[in-house]
Symmetry: C2
Subunit: 453 residues, 2 copies
């Protein structure tokens, strides 16, 4: 409580907003992580990491992305791996708790209606309530991670031996819940050995869905007894998550059914599990049970779209978020039908939120295209789909790759690190800036119209 | 005058708006063109076009795109070529004059402020004024086209012989002013033989810039004596056109300077001419003096961005339009700085226009990505950059290609035809729908907020 109050005074003193505090905190964490990963004890066989490689790995962990320039299992010692796991856990939790702080500030800035929304979804706006909420988020995180770790430890006992399997269970449970996508399976393999293993696939996918859906949804589901009474936000996130996962599973199944590099050789049950996992992980876990590079261009394209969309707000997921996606789809549909108000499930979406959704989408597309353009210059000879996949993966903090990451030029590594950082804190900062923008400016210029479209 | 009034009564009778009338008119024109191009007399050596090929060619001409599945010069007889030229001319003029009608309707729908804008930029809103304006547009078109034809006919007299060069002059002048990109140079060569020829390059580029900048800008420039008094619309279009052309020239020069497939072997003067032409044509002429397929991926990417942006509203150009591009850039900049009003050159851009710009951009990106996704399924084995280039070229009615067009599958040809049509009438229809949306809906649902980003 007192700590939080003194944080607020400190913040007023140096005049930075919560989003900026988050960005700064992440930078410090990345710097510490970089130093730790460069220590001789962090890597096996004196394979000391270069500064750029260590920076890349630390950024990838803190931003829960999972893109890697070296194979985690064969490169890092136990110490190095635990550093990565801690960076993931602090990065994931830090993002969620700062999300709460930012939601609180948004509530203050957007007036009574905004506060009512936050009261409805969080049922708290007082500082006391917020501290309680942070405690809930932390407790919930550890509870779910522990559950996942137990299931995975038992499943993996025959494969990695006991008690070694406990470490594997904890590492992958933390990585999955935080949507980090780091694995210690070796040889850049991710979980491809378990493509048809229902226990591993369903445990990991449940962890990453729960982690990526956002704490407001979790809270709302816990507090409300009836489905009807759920907040609009909860309903939209659940519905879109469901639709995207089902649709993507069907598409991947259809597109890869006969592809010998992916689903082609598998029995039907494993085909379905493989398609389902690949439909779920791009938003934004980043594990893979199929070799993404061997997929059809259609599936790679679909994966890129899913990576760009990402998960729910206020969770461990990245991307523009499912609500943003839903609102722009609804808005464009409304416009084409020549109507004015964007309506869904008997409710009207406020104009300012539609504007915010458009802004975040366009800003995200800008950043992705800008970094992509620079990479076409620095990474000569790499096909467009491989480059675009890498950039969107970094932006959405997904961590899937068509295999480019270890082969990136030093400039490329710095650019992708930057993209991971921007992808993580950018949209949130933007949402914050947008909420602040409601304060009127002092001088009003005269309006003048121009022709659009 | 009377014709126009009876059109208005007819329109009220069947309840379609001008944008829908335009779409219908284009469909009828495409159908007539398809039939004409399938006639035995339209093609040389009994190379009768299939229905799909004729449909593709007619759509490409009416929508002034310039993508071709067969080489225009070697496939079509003089009759066939003249059919194409007429389709281009009617398509181009039809679009411009309907643009005026739509601007008039927009003016009626968007209230007093909107009318003042149209009065300012067109200086007319009465029916009499509109008929005068249409006459001006038609007269101006023929004047500029005639000028271009004379210069090109003289230049080409040694190459194609007199009076044959007159035909070449007229065809390419009409094609350039209407930003159609069709050529009769043979062998899919476009104007690559004239990469270093200042007369050809500067004449064609001047024609396509004037045609693509929009009649409101032309009118404003003719009527206003001083640069200071120009409408905001005019200033923005001129400034962005200038910036895009200069920046793109420098980038292309830099990116292709040593590329032996494009600028590498040319003397400096021709390098600059080649870079300049390639910077200008993607918005949205579609001629090419360099082989686009041999360009670096960076240049191809830059070309795609330019094709997506397109030219000015109310001209022969396609794409989202330079004003839309300017407004979203300004809006995102404003948002990131945490400010509220989008301001430029001492004026404020109305909120509703910003919304319109966002909508058109997102809608366009949707359509491009949707068609692209289907093409990854129908055109197996084609790299992403080649497919994306083709789709954006069709959407922006540009007509450049990395060589895919003649090799498209029948489904692919239909999809690209559809894309050319949507790219041509879609954004305008959308702008119209958006303007109508200002009418309030009868039933208002309760507002409910959700978390965005
Ligand atoms: K990830
Ligand atoms: K064109």
């Amino acid at each position: 409580m007192d700590h939080f109050k003194s944080y607020l005074s400190f913040q007023r003193l140096i005049k930075i907003n919560p989003a900026q505090t988050l960005a700064l905190g992440f930078l410090v964490l990345i710097f510490i992580g970089t130093m730790l990963l460069m220590l001789p004890g962090a890597t096996k066989d004196r394979n000391y990491l270069s500064f750029i490689d260590a920076l890349f790995e630390a950024t990838s962990a803190v931003c829960v992305t999972g893109l890697v320039v070296v194979d985690t299992q064969s490169t890092f010692t136990l110490f190095g791996q635990i550093v990565l796991m801690l960076l993931i856990q602090i990065g994931g939790l830090g993002f969620m708790t700062f999300g709460i702080l930012i939601a609180l500030f948004l509530g203050k800035n957007i007036g009574l209606k905004g506060r009512m929304m936050i009261q409805e979804s969080l049922n708290q706006i007082s500082l006391e309530g917020m501290v309680k909420l942070v405690k809930f988020v932390v407790g919930f995180t550890f509870l779910i991670e522990a559950t996942g770790a137990v299931i995975l430890s038992i499943r993996w006992a025959p494969d990695f031996g006991f008690p070694n399997s406990i470490y594997y269970g904890i590492f992958h449970s933390v990585s999955a819940f935080n949507n980090a996508g780091f694995d210690i399976m070796g040889n850049f393999n991710s979980v491809t050995s378990y493509v048809g293993d229902a226990t591993v696939i369903l445990t990991l996918s449940s962890l990453l869905i729960v982690g990526g859906i956002g704490y407001t949804v979790i809270l709302d589901l816990i507090k409300k007894k009836s489905l009807r009474k759920l907040a609009l936000h909860t309903k939209i996130v659940l519905l879109i998550t469901f639709i995207l996962n089902i649709t993507a599973t069907i598409f991947i199944l259809f597109l890869e059914y006969n592809n010998p590099g992916t689903l082609g050789e598998l029995p039907l049950k494993e085909k379905i599990l493989g398609a389902y996992f690949h439909a779920v992980v791009p938003r934004t876990a980043g594990f893979n049970s199929l070799n993404t590079a061997d997929m059809t261009l259609s599936s790679q394209f679909l994966t890129m779209l899913l990576m760009f969309i990402g998960g729910g707000s206020g969770g461990t997921a990245g991307g523009i978020k499912v609500t943003t996606f839903a609102v722009i789809i609804l808005a464009v549909g409304t416009i084409i039908r020549g109507r004015d108000d964007v309506e869904v499930m008997g409710r009207r979406i406020p104009k300012e939120l539609i504007f915010r959704a458009f802004s975040i989408t366009i800003y995200s597309a800008f950043i992705v295209l800008l970094i992509l353009f620079i990479l076409t210059i620095t990474e000569k000879g790499v096909p467009l789909n491989v480059l675009l996949f890498e950039v969107i993966s970094a932006f959405g903090t997904v961590g899937m790759s068509l295999g480019l990451t270890p082969d990136l030029s030093p400039t490329g590594k710095v650019l992708i690190s930057l993209m991971m950082f921007i992808g993580r804190v950018g949209p949130l900062t933007l949402a914050f800036a947008l909420a602040k923008a409601n304060k009127k400016q002092a001088v009003k210029h005269a309006e003048e119209r121009i022709m659009i479209g």
